[in-house]
């Protein structure tokens, strides 16, 4: 509405303000419990981003979130509210963990490939169920995927306590994957593994898919207008199945990778709380369903997570306060941050406001 100059300023402020505000509010809370906020933030930034090891760890944690973020983005962008990535992730992680343990004798490279391929397939099969219910039965995908996630978690818990239980362990877990299945760490100190390379490769592929390919075009069109997409022959039903399969595969690989590079066995806290799938949703939304946006958002969010542990270790700030600050940052970011900056070719003129 205003002139271009001031709208530019607004845009820039949009990027910086939310983070500053979140840090400010968080700072008040930290100061209220008698700690020095600057010191705490310095720990966060220096440990998670500025130290070599810390940054590598940040990348490590960003990896699966990038994948789940992409998994969400490709469906959300098409207006398909798929929340099944958490389930695909668990399914993929579980199967990778089982195969990694059972087939420990197979040489390293084929074994990893088998595990990740199986993870992708299981993720896809899982996603396919909800896709078919959506397409054949017209059931609301959001409800179906959410319900399936809860059900799957219970099924996996059952499997991990019965058929696939690691007998030697006092808690619920599957056997540890063999050395051959584990992704080796690149640097001795950090947790970063070659899996991150796979993640980046997939990110590049997804960049092409979402921005250059026919499928990406159809997804965008669906996201804008289902009716238009159907009328111009994009066969919405088929496309829904396609993107759900891609989404499932991505989340499955995320789970498989998380298993082989970090967890090594399935436990009830495999994907932690609230879960890498949910994190992916946050990241996809913060990154405006754009691959580059997702990359940045995932690294940013992973930094918050890595930083959280450092703060817990090096400052007298309980982990609940750190979660509070994380939540505030997310809250403030919801009000457009990465969105405007990285979103791709959005028509400048928005629908008129009366």
């Amino acid at each position: 509405m205003n002139s271009t100059m001031s709208s530019k300023i607004i845009k820039i402020m949009n990027c910086i303000l939310p983070v500053l505000m979140a840090f400010f509010v968080g700072g008040i809370v930290i100061a209220a419990i008698g700690e020095n906020p600057f010191e705490v933030y310095w720990i966060l930034i220096s440990k998670a981003l500025l130290s070599m090891t810390g940054f590598q760890n940040t990348l490590h944690y960003a990896g699966p979130m990038i994948l789940t973020g992409l998994a969400i983005a490709i469906t959300f962008k098409a207006n398909i509210y798929n929340m099944g990535m958490e389930g695909s992730l668990l399914a993929g992680g579980f199967v990778a963990g089982i195969l990694g343990a059972q087939l420990a004798g197979i040489p390293a490279i084929p074994l990893k490939f088998i595990c990740l391929a199986a993870a992708a397939i299981f993720g896809m099969v899982y996603a396919l169920i909800s896709a078919l219910l959506k397409v054949k039965f017209r059931a609301n995908e959001m409800v179906i995927t959410m319900m399936m996630n809860y059900a799957l978690a219970k099924v996996l818990e059952y499997l991990a306590t019965t058929v696939f239980r690691d007998a030697g362990n006092g808690y619920v877990c599957t056997p540890i994957v063999g050395d051959n299945a584990m992704f080796a760490r690149i640097f001795s100190k950090s947790r970063l593994t070659l899996f991150f390379g796979i993640v980046i490769l997939i990110l590049v592929i997804m960049f092409v898919v979402m921005k250059k390919s026919r499928l990406g075009y159809e997804v965008t069109a669906m996201g804008k207008n289902f009716e238009f997409a159907e009328a111009t022959g994009m066969h919405v039903g088929k496309t829904i199945i396609k993107i759900m399969l891609i989404s499932g595969a991505l989340a499955g690989i995320a789970g498989g990778g998380w298993m082989l590079e970090d967890q090594y066995r399935y436990t009830l806290t495999f994907s932690a709380n609230p879960g890498l799938g949910w994190d992916g949703m946050l990241i996809a939304l913060l990154g405006s369903h754009d691959p580059i946006g997702i990359l940045i958002a995932a690294i940013f969010y992973a930094a918050l997570k890595t930083g959280a542990d450092s703060i817990n270790m090096y400052a007298n700030v309980p982990k609940e306060i750190i979660s509070l600050i994380q939540a505030l940052i997310v809250l403030f970011l919801a009000v457009k941050f990465i969105h405007e900056k990285f979103s791709f070719r959005r028509s400048a003129k928005k629908v008129k406001e009366a």
């Binding site: 238009f228 009328a231 022959g233 028509s347 009366a354």
Partner: protein, 509 residues
């Protein structure tokens, strides 16, 4: 007294000036028509008068007093009501609920008193001689009825200035006539009316005075009796316009039948047969018109033909091949182009770029998509060619379709469908809401296309359009074909009867 007067009213959207120092006056109890090309700034002007947009500069005077309209509420308080180009109705609510929205009648302090409401609306409907059932849901009634609801909504609020933005674009000829009668009645009852329209016939018939707007400026202001259609058209478009193109090529009656529908039927959500056992065929090189009052199954028929709806019975064949219930993409691949009924719902995606829209439906073809990857360069050159060949006026060539005027947006679709060079074209309401310049262009394209030996199925609620373009017309009523006519030797009267479902034989009895 001037009911409305604007003085140097200006509206800018960013760097773009949509209304440029507009000064005009509407006298008490007159019907004023405003005409102009698509995108000339008519709706913008009216939106300012209704408080939906705030003027950048200039003054608005109502009953010769300056007003500051911040919202529609202010406008209504000043006695101004507006019926928008795109209806502002709530489909899931009933007629009476929609009319009373914002002015509910209550009982027991908080509950809505439905009984009283219905009675009141019934009374209102009778007062203005409208044909409506207050209990019907908006989603179930015809477009014409919806329009009447919109008007009643304003009348109920006791406005004495009524603005109608392209009220006739979506109406059938009968409905247009009814509307004109209603408007003239309203005028008699003391209302002042402003009508935006692209149809010069209506201007001549309805209005007392006309204002022509071009590029956001007033370029003409006259009494209707002092002007004529041709002059208005010339002012608007800036050149001579042929107001009615006519089809004067002769189709060989023995020409090959390329498209054949056999006893097709389908049902709507309520299980009602809306397309009932229809059979027809289309020959090479002919334009087959399908006429009918809106809501008699044409939309569903087009949906079946374009793959958006399934049949319950019957077959469709094209070039002898069975294509019943195949999907839109396959239909296009077989060589049938589709200009859909609702341009912004099915034909175009407003938020996508021109390039993305110009390949829609053909985006899998080799020229723009290799191994699943879209070829940007090819798309852009296709877009540029389309813009050139079809004389499409765009501001930003990389911009979105939303920035185009209705006529130019429609030309994007026409260009897209014709460039693919199909054997047959399904053209549904190809000129709805489009200005006369663009209508002329689109009609020409259709005729040229048919002349090349291709077939066209033309579905339109604009009877004159059908009659002037078609070689053969079938008339529909209640999902059935009620007759087939040769437009060149049929009078409108007969068509009207067929549209009402009365067969010639019956009449003769």
């Amino acid at each position: 007294m001037n009911m409305i007067q604007t003085i140097d009213l200006t509206k800018r959207f960013g760097d773009f000036t949509a209304n440029d120092h507009i000064s005009l006056a509407v006298k008490e109890q007159e019907i004023k028509c405003i005409v102009g090309e698509n995108g000339a700034g008519k709706s913008t002007l009216m939106n300012m008068l209704y408080g939906l947009l705030e003027p950048t500069e200039g003054k608005i005077l109502i009953r010769e007093k300056e007003v500051n309209l911040k919202s529609p509420t202010d406008a209504i308080a000043n006695g101004i009501g507006m019926v928008h180009q795109h209806f502002m109705l709530i489909p899931s609510l009933t007629v009476f609920e929609n009319i009373l929205l914002g002015a509910e009648v209550k009982k027991h302090k908080c509950l809505i008193d439905e009984k009283t409401e219905i009675a009141k609306i019934q009374e209102l409907i009778e007062q203005y001689h409208f044909e409506l059932n207050p209990m019907d849901k908006i989603e179930d009634i015809s477009v014409g009825s919806r329009q009447r609801v919109e008007i009643l909504k304003m009348l109920y609020r006791n406005v004495d200035i009524l603005i109608l933005d392209e009220p006739t674009a979506v109406l059938t000829p009968q409905e247009v006539d009814e509307l004109m009668v209603s408007l003239k009645n309203l005028k008699k009852q003391g209302k002042t009316i402003v009508v935006i329209t692209h149809k010069l016939r209506e201007v001549m018939e309805l209005s007392d005075s006309v204002t022509v707007i071009k590029h956001g400026k007033v370029i003409g202001n006259m009494e209707t009796k002092d002007t004529n259609e041709q002059e208005l058209a010339q002012m608007m478009v800036g050149r001579n316009v042929i107001l009615t193109v006519s089809n004067n090529n002769m189709v060989d009656e023995q020409a090959e039948i390329i498209y054949k529908a056999d006893n097709i039927s389908t049902v709507n959500i309520f299980g009602k047969k809306v397309v009932d056992n229809m059979s027809f065929c289309v020959r090479k090189g002919e334009i087959l018109g399908i006429a009918g009052v809106e809501g008699n199954g044409q939309s569903e028929l087009v949906k079946i033909m374009s793959g958006l709806m399934e049949t319950t019975e019957g077959t469709i064949s094209f070039h002898g091949e069975n294509i019943t219930n195949i999907w839109p993409k396959e239909i296009r691949n077989k060589g049938i182009g589709i200009i859909p009924e609702d341009r912004y719902a099915q034909g175009l995606c407003k938020e996508m770029s021109l390039g993305d829209n110009i390949i829609a439906g053909y985006h899998s073809r080799k020229d723009v998509c290799k191994r699943g990857i879209l070829q940007r360069k090819a798309i852009n050159s296709k877009r540029d060619k389309g813009i050139k060949d079809f004389d499409i006026r765009v501001g930003d060539i990389n911009g979105a379709v939303a920035a185009l005027s209705g006529g130019n947006a429609q030309k994007i679709i026409v260009s897209r469908e014709l460039t693919a060079n199909p054997d047959m074209l399904i053209a549904c309401q190809p000129t709805r809401g489009v200005d006369i310049g663009s209508i002329e262009a689109i009609h020409k394209h259709l005729l040229d296309y048919a002349k090349k030996g291709n077939a066209v199925v033309l579905i339109s609620s604009e009877l004159s359009e059908i009659m002037s373009l078609s070689d053969r017309v079938i008339v529909m009523c209640k999902g059935k074909i009620t007759g087939e006519i040769e437009p060149r030797d049929t009078n409108m009267m007969k068509v009207g009867l067929l549209m009402a479902g009365i067969h010639e034989e019956e009449r003769n009895e």
